[in-house]
Amino acid sequence: MKLVSRLGGEENIVDVTKLDSGKYKVIIDGEEMIIDVPHINHDKINILYDNKSLDYSYLKSEDMYELNYMDKNFEIELYDERRFNLRKAEFSNSGPEKIKSSMPGKIVKLEVSEGDLVEAGQGILIMEAMKMENEVKCAKAGIIKKIYVKEGDAVEKSTVLVEIESE
């Protein structure tokens, strides 16, 4: 089964085959690994490879597999060829940056107006959640193109708050 993986902005070609022995052959960008899987269930996968036993907890949602090993988290997207081609356009999209809420909360204060020039790292607005006020900042410099919320609004997670056009 041929797949494309995305992890930390990097893409790899992955090929998975199940062998008659019950082991898996996984080829990542040409490099072959023969992997044994002693344990797999709804939230854990344990792989044995090269005498390393790695015990990942996992969570999946559509194309995303989130794996945890010790204190490391890996957010890995996996697509078959068809889906990858469909979504490819999105990955390279360099349109306006949309700032989304990373949690549900309440907009306490807007610190910018539409049309404002902002610098990378500048504060955009203040949200309150879990009894704390938190400042939402922008990653890149640009112009505030549109503000979708107003002070006092309660927003869900992943709501688009502000759109910034890069300079």
Binding site: L3, G8, S57, S61, D71, E128, M130, N134
Partner: protein, 496 residues
């Protein structure tokens, strides 16, 4: 002396569970209370009886004094343990307990009053001979703020008079920041403590936050259980605490311990409390405030003394004497506060469903929590999900143990500060014991480095999962479109 037989815990989350555990051991029945959001919280499941507060807003639930008193009477509980936060430093509530013949596990209402308003307590301590930091009276207008700030000199720190626990504080370095900080601090003070009053203090830099645990019975016996060093703070919120402190000499420890006992006696204190000091690099220390309740970080004191502080609180409230109590300190303990927040995104809170949660174990490892795998962390409360506490024979071993234990926690579904905490304790300066309240700011660059995880094995594991998934072999994906998901959606629609 009245044996307490049933305790209502006027709190939620990990501290409610922690108090209940001791009650279960002592054969004391427990009563939990819960808001609508907390129906499926662990503290509700753990208790022998659980009563709905019937609401979602704080004022209707965990801050609803009359309702809590009513439930206490209805359940037949003879005592209330307030935990920390919420009503734990509210003299009005303590007074209502007393009036209703309910034992309040904590100091007298008058003592709470005395120590609750930070400006008042500073006066009392000065009179008793306890050194205090230069500061202001309560401030109600921006004009007063400006005048006082000029008198004291920058940097200053604005604090909620009724505050505590790191909330309701703003550091101000320059005159221009004064007004927004004042506004924001008053707003947070009102929201968190129901009282907008603030005051200011000189902000002393390069300081160490050292606090002494004290206990006092009804017969004038006061003892201290040594210090906790809470210097590692982010946004004035403690995140790592340890004892013993690396910078206290035995002489200084003894001197500060004696002053802590003096301060405790000065306010006629009873039960467990904490005297907070700030200490500068030259050994000068000042009284900061007294916390008239159990502290979040009390477990590290339990680890090094071997004493159960909640059990002591209950026994003192029952009228037992601590005269014969021998305090035998040993080893070193560290606590890390694990928060549902994203260190790579400006520490945004990250409430949501805890899909996977495995807890660390082994010798000297303690994990105090109020959550469980499958639990949805509500957005309305403090984002702390657990406290990881370790004990070892010395500090170097305790750090080694902490990094091992942090590595054993698996969390999926929400973001946490676990890897951030691990980075802190593994810095050279932390290992060498060079900690002060500026630590986080001074190590910002070092702490923001992302660990380079070798992803090849993880990609292979994910690919195998995808393969089995597409073959229809994967059992019950938790977050997929399967029946588990439908079930949740349905339940939440109906019940929450």
């Amino acid at each position: 002396m009245k044996k307490i037989e049933k305790i209502l815990i006027a709190n939620r989350g990990e501290i409610s569970v922690r108090i209940q555990r001791t009650c279960r051991e002592l054969g004391i029945k427990t009563v939990a209370i819960f808001s609508e959001q907390d129906k499926s919280a662990f503290h509700v499941q753990y208790a022998e009886e659980s009563f709905a507060l019937g609401g979602t807003a704080l004022a209707d639930t965990y801050l609803n004094q009359d309702k809590i008193i009513e439930i206490t009477k209805k359940s037949g509980a003879d005592a209330i343990h307030p935990g920390y936060g919420f009503l734990s430093e509210n003299s009005e509530f303590a007074r209502k307990c007393v009036e209703n013949d309910i034992i309040y596990i904590g100091p007298d209402p008058d003592t709470i009053d005395l120590m609750g308003l930070k400006t008042e307590s500073r006066k009392l301590m000065e009179k008793a001979g306890v050194p205090v930091v230069p500061g202001s009276i309560p401030l109600s207008s921006i004009e007063d703020v400006k005048t006082e700030a000029k008198r004291i000199g920058f940097p200053i720190i604005i604090k909620a008079s009724a505050g505590g626990g790191g909330k309701g504080m703003r550091l101000v370095n320059v005159f221009e920041e004064l007004e927004p900080a004042f506004d924001s601090c008053r707003r947070e003070a009102q929201n968190s403590f129901g009282n907008p009053e603030v005051y200011m203090e000189k902000y002393i830099t390069n300081i160490h936050h050292i606090e002494f645990q004290v206990i006092a019975d009804h017969y004038g016996n006061v003892k201290h259980l040594y210090e906790r060093d809470c210097s590692i703070q982010r946004r004035h919120q403690k995140i790592i605490e340890e004892c013993p402190s690396t910078i206290l000499t035995d002489e200084l420890r003894e001197e500060m311990g004696e002053i802590a006992i003096l301060a405790t006696k000065a306010c006629n204190y009873k039960n467990a409390g904490t005297i907070e000091f700030i200490l500068d690099d030259t050994g000068n220390f000042y009284f900061l405030e007294m916390n008239t309740r159990l502290q979040v970080e009390h477990p590290i004191t339990e680890m090094i003394t071997g004493l159960d502080l909640v059990a002591k609180q209950i026994k003192i409230a029952q009228g037992e004497s601590i005269e014969d109590l021998v305090i035998n300190r040993r080893g070193a303990a560290i606590e890390c506060r694990i928060y549902a927040e994203d260190p790579e995104n400006n520490f945004m809170p990250s409430p949501g469903k805890l899909e996977v949660y495995t807890i660390p174990a082994g010798f000297g490892v303690r994990n105090d929590t109020g959550v469980y795998s499958g639990y949805t962390i509500p957005m309305e409360y403090d984002p702390m999900i657990s406290k990881l506490i370790v004990y070892a024979e010395d500090r170097a071993r305790a750090i080694e143990k902490m990094q091992r234990a942090l590595g054993e926690i698996h969390v999926l579904g929400i973001k946490t500060n676990i890897s951030y905490l691990r980075k802190i304790i593994l810095t050279d300066n932390f290992k060498e014991g060079k900690v002060n309240t500026q630590f986080i700011e001074e190590h910002e660059e070092e702490l923001s480095r992302r660990p380079i995880g070798y992803g090849k094995n993880a990609i292979a594991a994910a690919a195998i999962l995808k393969y089995e998934d597409m073959m229809g072999n994967l059992p019950c994906s938790k977050n997929g479109k399967g029946s588990a998901w439908k079930m949740n959606a349905r339940r939440e629609g109906v019940n929450l």
